[in-house]
């Protein structure tokens, strides 16, 4: 558990942020220049905040009240930088082993397990100059993990990569989250990445924490949707693959009832995280018939939040929450109000593969 409360004055910008990051992936989400990287650098010890206290699992990393400030090399905090920052004069293997030299426990993270997990076994003898962007980031990730950190910091590790490379690395990050149990502080300005990886979300705007909480709650909260971007607004649904059906569909069990989606290549029984974009959800007063959409879920309206660019309707479906974005005219036409029982309609093909991640919510 990371506990942080810091203040720092920059010329023309003040940072005043505090939050707690439980185990799992805590995403720091906000626009560029909102202070996310500063927070991460303060945790790593690369900058010293004017005031405040940072603590990881009871170890005080910095505390302005007592004047305590651990230098970066004594914090045991792994850092994956946006640009990788691999050592050019060392091979991949030497890069990976660099932090283990100084690691607190020599036998902690197992070299071969991490190398397998990241799929970098074939690269060990190469130099960083001969790696692609995606390979570099995987090595940087492995190097940070193998230093056996208490906490892993990632500052937009995917931002410098194209979409294909991102898609290549995301599964490794999910495995890292689900298999190592290492607490991760993840900086991003991509709602899609956050929705896929985060278990906790901290929204940062202009140096302040706007909202913080479990990912599923923050992502389905109409109040925070404008910060994430309306087009990116959407709830997270945890699902389990029940059956691969013959006509190219996959049947999933969710807290909202069964859902059919285009074929997902994963084993039956595996757990998934679906991101259902609010703009892909339609609402109907009666159960529609003669309609191509396969998924019709009975739901209850929790609240209706008008705003710029439409109305966000939060829906309770079983023990899950779904978000729908519709126009003000439709809202008035249907007479939507809290407590109403309606039907949410979702096309099987509207959940993009990039919105399907592994693991629990």
């Amino acid at each position: 558990m990371l506990k942080l409360a810091i203040r720092h004055e920059f010329p023309g910008f003040a940072l005043d942020a505090g939050f707690e990051a439980p185990p799992g992936v805590t995403a720091l989400f906000g626009k560029s220049g909102s202070g996310k990287t500063t927070i991460v650098n303060a945790v790593a010890g690369l900058m010293r905040p004017d005031q405040g206290r940072i603590e990881v699992d009871g170890l005080i990393l910095s505390d302005s009240a007592s004047g305590r400030f651990l230098p970066p090399h004594r914090r045991g905090v792994g850092y994956v930088f946006q640009e990788g920052r691999l050592f050019p004069h060392l091979t991949v293997r030497q890069n990976l082993l660099y932090g283990r030299w100084f690691a607190r426990m020599k036998d902690g993270a197992r070299f071969s397990r991490i190398v397998d997990l990241l799929g970098i076994g074939d690269l060990l003898a190469r130099r960083p100059g001969a790696l692609s962007g995606g390979e570099k980031q995987r090595v940087a990730l492995g190097r940070a993990i193998l230093s056996n950190p208490r906490l892993l910091l990632m500052d937009e590790p995917l931002a410098a990569l194209d979409e294909a490379r991102k898609a290549e690395i995301l599964p490794y990050l999910e495995r890292l989250r689900d298999e190592t149990g290492l607490p991760i502080l993840y900086v991003s300005h991509s709602a899609a990445e956050v929705a896929r990886l985060a278990t906790t979300i901290v929204l940062i705007e202009a140096g302040r924490v706007l909202a913080a909480g479990p990912a599923a709650t923050i992502l389905s909260d109409p109040a925070t949707a404008p910060v994430l971007g309306l087009r990116e607004a959407g709830a997270i649904l945890s699902a389990r693959i029940e059956a691969q059906e013959e006509d190219g569909l996959t049947r999933l069990a969710t807290g909202a009832g069964p859902v059919w989606l285009s074929r997902i290549t994963a084993a039956e029984g595996s757990h998934l995280r679906l991101r259902i974009l609010a703009q892909d959800v339609m609402l109907a007063l009666q159960r529609p018939s003669g309609i191509s959409a396969l998924n019709v879920l009975p739901v209850t309206v929790r609240d209706v939040t008008p705003g710029e660019g439409g109305v966000l309707v939060r829906l309770e479906a079983g023990d899950e929450v779904i978000l729908a974005r519709i126009t003000a005219r439709s809202t008035a036409g249907l007479g939507l109000a809290p407590g109403m029982r309606v039907y949410a309609v979702l096309k099987a093909v509207s959940v993009a593969p990039g919105s399907i991640g592994t693991g629990g919510p």
Binding site: A44, G45, L46, P71, P72, H73, R74, R75, G76, V77, G78, Y79, F81, E83, R85, L86, F87, P88, H89, Y98, G99, W101, F102, A103, R127, P128, G129, A130, R143, A144, S147, L153
Partner: protein, 231 residues
């Protein structure tokens, strides 16, 4: 080769090689430290230190030699102090090495400083987050990356030391076998009738050493580029 040069000429060449090697090796630790300080630290007196280091480059060598004589001569403040411990520079080959070391210092520091500035401090930060203390960061990241720059600086400084004349002759005079380095010997041969052939042979040696140093330094500079690009 001993047949090719007379014993007197040979003595001058050997002395020059010894003086230059000692000058470069002894000034190297200071050179790395000063270059690192100038490249990475901000402190009061930064500009002053930079100026002092470069002073021998712009001062007439005779002035540098005279200043050395004033301070490191047996009656000079530093010279008199060191004399108590039996360390004497004046009119010894060690004095020639001191003069050459100081004259070559700016070149040594410049080459090393440039290579330190080419090292991305972000790499050093990354090393720190992986658990390396400042000293370890320097030893495992900075130093290997600047090694070719250090070699290049040593080569240049060595060549400069081989050619040093003005400061050396002013500080430690021109004593054969003691302080008569290659340039001093050429100068001395040119002062006596019939010395031209000796001077010519030494000139060839000087040209060969200088060319070799330049080629070596070029080659090392290219290897810096290769290392830092990581290919």
């Amino acid at each position: 080769m001993t047949d090719w040069l007379t014993p007197e000429e040979w003595q001058a060449v050997v002395l020059s090689l010894r003086v230059s090697s000692v000058a470069v090796l002894a000034s190297l630790p200071f050179g790395v430290l000063v270059a690192y300080a100038l490249a990475r630290w901000r402190f009061p007196g930064h500009g002053l230190l930079n100026g002092l280091v470069h002073l021998p480059l712009v001062l007439p060598p005779v002035v540098t030699g005279y200043l050395l004589l004033l301070s490191f001569g047996r009656r000079g403040t530093i010279g008199a102090f060191l004399d108590q411990f039996g360390i004497v520079f004046a009119f010894r080959w060690t004095g020639a090495a001191l003069a050459c070391g100081i004259m070559a210092f700016p070149l040594l520091v410049r080459a090393i400083r440039l290579s330190i500035e080419a090292v991305d401090p972000k790499l050093e930060q990354a090393a720190a987050t992986l658990g390396a203390s400042r000293l370890w960061v320097f030893a495992t990241v900075t130093l290997p990356l600047i090694l070719p720059g250090i070699f290049a600086g040593m080569v240049l400084a060595f060549a400069k030391a081989m050619g040093e004349f003005g400061a050396t002759i002013t500080f430690v005079s021109n004593i054969p076998g003691q302080t008569q380095t290659l340039p001093s010997a050429i100068y001395a041969f040119l002062q006596v009738p019939g010395g031209e052939s000796s001077a010519a042979r030494l000139v060839l040696v000087a040209v060969a050493v200088a060319m070799a140093a330049l080629f070596l330094s070029e080659w090392l500079a290219r290897s810096v580029a290769r290392r830092i690009s990581g290919a």
